[in-house]
């Protein structure tokens, strides 16, 4: 670090100019990154459902996902009126001929099947499949949206469907991001001024933040050119980039001012800062990066994107903090105090955190038991977590027309046509194996939650559903609706067919999953596989469950090794891991209590779905774990430093807490502002993310640090620092030792000029 500091001080102007050019180039090139990012990536591309969906689209016309759904409302009368009928047909044909549309069918083009008409007869559906990858489909939806919205002669049109929902959610998420940046940046700026007491010093962490965020946009642009990157990872870039930069900036600038106050030269102050705080920041950045790397074990592009953007933003923030920031400090010298508004209280010398540590260590048992009990109580709801997947309800109706249209379909139509399970039957001929298909379809319609089964043989409504003019539960043979039955036949694959299972329940829900389970368990004399939203959700969850032990094991092992390298202790890293898990499960429990149970829905502005997005706890785990470890590294490095002097465990804990108390508190509060910005998002998964990180950071930085860390450190006593002899010696040789300022090194540093 000292060598790096020497280089940074010597080449300070070069570094600053290079950083300015980098920000300009990255800002210019990265400003278009949004167009290159994907709005999807939630599926496991290797799953059975994804594979089945692909096979269905390749074989059959009309077997694809209803990507683009037009809700047609007659301005007066019924959808069967002559003028509406003509308009419906014309719009269907026009849509089917649009570029990017694979096929389109509607109530009118399919000989008016009742399920595509609302119960009151005033609305009907046009369902279209789109061509290409998800990115291309989103572009098509964006192009078609204005053409197929609003008034068209005798009808009003509104758009929904999978792709349109994804498009509107991602658009909303980007708008929220801008809004959150506009809200949080000035508040963070003011908070920084309050922490530093000086305008120049306060602006330095923000400069690191700008470099980190803008640099990551460029990094994402480059990554997006080779692999799918989710647009939602941009939110993480801003939040984490700004948050960590503020953290790192705070640690480095505080240390620099501390050294300058001792009367040393600028050069020596920079050298000492890099040798101490700089080294800790670099170490902490590596820890956070490794936590985020764990997301790469999952197959979903959405999760992997957070690893790309997270690692990029932490790496760039870390480099900016240990290269650009010291260069700026070397140029500024004592001018870092310019614009001083007031003198902040010194960080050294006990204060609240020192007193708090002593208070806890006098009576460690009550604190350890009491606070653990509170956290475990908070964590209990986590045991009942129901994992779901994002659907249209992720945004509120007032900000998304797709949500309003889906709500109208939910309420006005008897079934969920656009959420059907598509069951592929391979080596089953729709002309020769009609008996087997008929028996299978009859079994399927008996399953609770199934409204109707469509097959090559005909249409099978459940006992409480009717296809007019037939009665409830009455079978309609295929030849009575030939246009509707056509889609189950393929000229290229005459020995394959498929079955459409239309539910009347919410597809992305526990009952939806139960329905899928029952459909999968239905006996049949042939093999079949299932595509559709519910199958996608279940497959995605299974993929996560499969990889989860690997991801958690990886994080735990690497964090343990890094903390061991830093402390030379076996127990301290284990304790840090357990406390982290405790704070995270408490935060998760609170999330379940609030969002899954639908509490404070009006106040927080969300629609309860009875589940938590599958990806959110995982992302929260990796990010909050990394951030908690960040604080842990700062705190433990200081405690260890003190312990090495005289092996007085209690003194070391108290001094460590006292010396880092103010800075970690300030860093956590500043991060809280950033996460509050995310919590104001209109998109539920971003809001969950914001609230979850907010809770995790607050629990960790205040409750755990102020009580459980000193209590457990006191209770373990000298055992804290125990390690087998061979590990102690290994640590002496290879461990990370943060050198205290040494005058001879300062002189060597001065002499390097």
């Amino acid at each position: 670090m000292r060598r790096l500091a020497g280089w940074v001080v010597r080449r300070r102007w070069f570094i600053i100019v290079a950083a300015v050019i980098f920000v300009a180039v990255a800002g210019f090139a990265g400003s278009g990154v949004h167009q290159e990012l994907s709005a999807g990536g939630f599926d496991d591309p290797g799953s059975e459902s994804a594979h089945t969906s692909e096979q269905l689209v390749r074989r059959f016309v009309g077997a694809g996902e209803p990507e683009f759904v037009v809700l047609v409302t007659a301005r007066s009368g019924s959808v069967d009126d002559e003028a509406v009928d003509a308009a419906g047909l014309a719009i269907t044909e026009k849509l089917a001929n649009e570029r990017g549309v694979d096929n389109a069918s509607s109530y009118w083009s399919l000989d008016k099947p009742p399920p595509l008409k609302s119960r009151d007869g005033s609305q009907a559906l046009i369902i279209a499949e789109l061509d290409g990858e998800q990115g291309e489909r989103v572009e098509t939806a964006e192009r078609l949206f204005p053409k197929y919205s609003g008034r068209h002669g005798p009808v009003d049109l509104g758009i929904t469907g999978l792709t349109e929902v994804v498009r509107q959610v991602s658009e909303r998420s980007s708008k929220d991001l801008e809004r959150s940046e506009i809200i949080t940046a000035p508040i963070t700026g003011i908070a920084l001024v309050l922490v530093f007491g000086s305008l120049v010093a306060a602006s330095l962490p923000l400069i690191v933040g700008i470099i980190a965020v803008v640099g990551t946009l460029l990094a994402l642009l480059l990554i997006a050119s080779v692999t799918e990157v989710s647009v939602f990872s941009l939110n993480l870039t801003t939040g984490l980039g700004l948050g960590l930069s503020v953290d790192y900036g705070l640690f480095i600038v505080s240390r620099y001012r501390e050294e300058m106050a001792k009367g040393v030269s600028t050069r020596v102050a920079v050298g000492r800062t890099m040798q101490t705080a700089g080294r800790t920041v670099a170490f902490s950045a590596i820890t956070v990066m490794i936590s985020l790397t764990a997301l790469l074990v999952f197959p979903q592009a959405y999760l992997r994107s957070f690893a790309y953007s997270g690692v990029a933003v932490v790496a760039i923030a870390g480099i900016a903090a240990v290269v650009v920031l010291p260069a700026l400090l070397a140029v500024l010298g004592a001018k870092v105090e310019v614009g001083r508004i007031f003198k902040p209280r010194e960080t050294e010398g006990g204060g609240f955190w020192g007193r708090q540590a002593h208070r806890v260590m006098r009576q460690p048992w009550p604190y350890a038991i009491g606070v653990s009990a509170v956290l475990i109580t908070l964590a209990i709801p986590f045991l009942h977590i129901r994992l779901g997947q994002v659907d249209d309800r992720v945004v509120q109706p007032q900000v998304s027309s797709a949500r309003r249209m889906t709500d109208a379909i939910r309420e006005g139509f008897p079934t969920r046509e656009s959420s059907a399970m598509r069951v592929l039957l391979r080596d089953v001929s729709p002309t020769d194996d009609t008996d087997a298909i008929d028996a299978f379809a009859k079994d399927l319609r008996e399953i609770p939650g199934v409204a109707r089964v469509d097959a090559a043989t005909g249409f099978y409504p459940s006992a409480d559903q009717a296809i007019a003019p037939f009665g409830k539960g009455e079978f309609v043979p295929a030849d009575l609706a030939p246009k509707l039955a056509e889609r189950f036949f393929s000229d290229a694959f005459p020995n394959d067919t498929w079955v459409n299972v239309v539910p009347d329940i919410e597809p992305l829900s526990k009952p939806g999953e139960l329905l899928l389970e029952r459909v999968r368990a239905t006996p049949a004399p042939f093999e079949f596989t299932i595509a559709g939203p519910t199958a996608r959700l279940v497959d995605s969850k299974e993929a996560i469950q499969e990889q989860l032990p690997l991801a958690i094991g990886f994080i735990a092992l690497v964090t343990f090794l890094l903390l061991f390298l830093m402390t030379g202790s076996v127990l301290v890293p284990i304790k840090a891991l357990l406390l982290n898990v405790l704070s995270l499960t408490a935060a998760f429990g609170a999330l379940v209590f609030i969002f899954q149970e639908g509490r404070f829905a009006d106040f927080l502005g969300y629609t309860p779905t009875g589940s938590i997005d599958t990806f959110t706890p995982l992302l929260l785990f990796c990010i909050a774990f990394g951030l908690s470890m960040d604080y842990e590294v700062f705190l433990l490095s200081r405690i260890k430093e003190e312990y090495d002097y005289d092996h007085d465990n209690e003194r070391a804990v108290a001094v460590g807490l006292a010396k880092t108390g103010r800075i970690v508190t300030a860093a956590a509060l500043l991060l809280t502002i950033v996460f509050l910005g995310l919590a104001t998002s209109e998109v539920l998964q971003v809001k969950l993310f914001g609230v979850g990180l907010l809770l995790a950071i607050l629990v960790d930085a205040f409750l755990i640090r102020a009580t459980l860390v000193p209590a457990f450190m006191r209770l373990a006593g000298r055992v804290n620092w125990w390690a087998p002899k061979f590990l102690r010696r290994w640590h002496l040789r290879f461990g990370i030792w943060e050198n205290e300022p040494i005058k001879l090194l300062d002189r060597a540093f001065e002499a390097e000029r």
Binding site: R2, E641, D644, Y645, H647, R728, R729, L732, W737, N739, E740, P741, I742, K743, L744, L745, R747, A748, A751
Partner: protein
């Protein structure tokens, strides 16, 4: 352990300052001075700085590089940890200090004899 290079004339430690590290000269020579008096010249392999680390008192003498020197630097934390971990190293250090003490006693006795023949 870090290494550092310093040009001739640079003080490696200064009398009266707080002890913060232990040093081993890797290359070059330095003179140990107390006030204006040169106590000794030391070269590669020589170590110094342990006294202030052991008793917490200020440095008892200055050490000035007489030519360009390269030194290995062991901070106080690492120094204390090494002594705890490797008692044989502590014994060697004590032996070195005992030797210094013995020499100092002999010199004192000799000086007393010279003054009172």
């Amino acid at each position: 352990m870090e290494t550092a290079s310093l040009p001739a004339g640079t003080p490696l430690v200064e009398e009266g300052e707080e002890g913060d590290a232990f040093f081993v000269i890797l290359d070059g020579t330095a003179s140990v001075r107390k006030g204006t008096q040169t106590l000794a010249d030391v070269g590669p392999g020589a170590s110094f700085g342990e006294l202030a680390l052991l008793d917490g008192e200020p440095r008892s003498a200055s050490v000035i590089a007489t030519v360009d020197v390269s030194v290995a630097v062991l901070g106080v934390r690492m120094f204390r940890t090494l002594l705890r971990e490797f008692p044989e190293m502590a014994i060697q250090l004590i032996a070195g200090l005992a030797g210094d003490l013995r020499r100092a006693r002999d010199e004192l006795a000799e000086a007393t004899r010279d003054r009172n023949p």
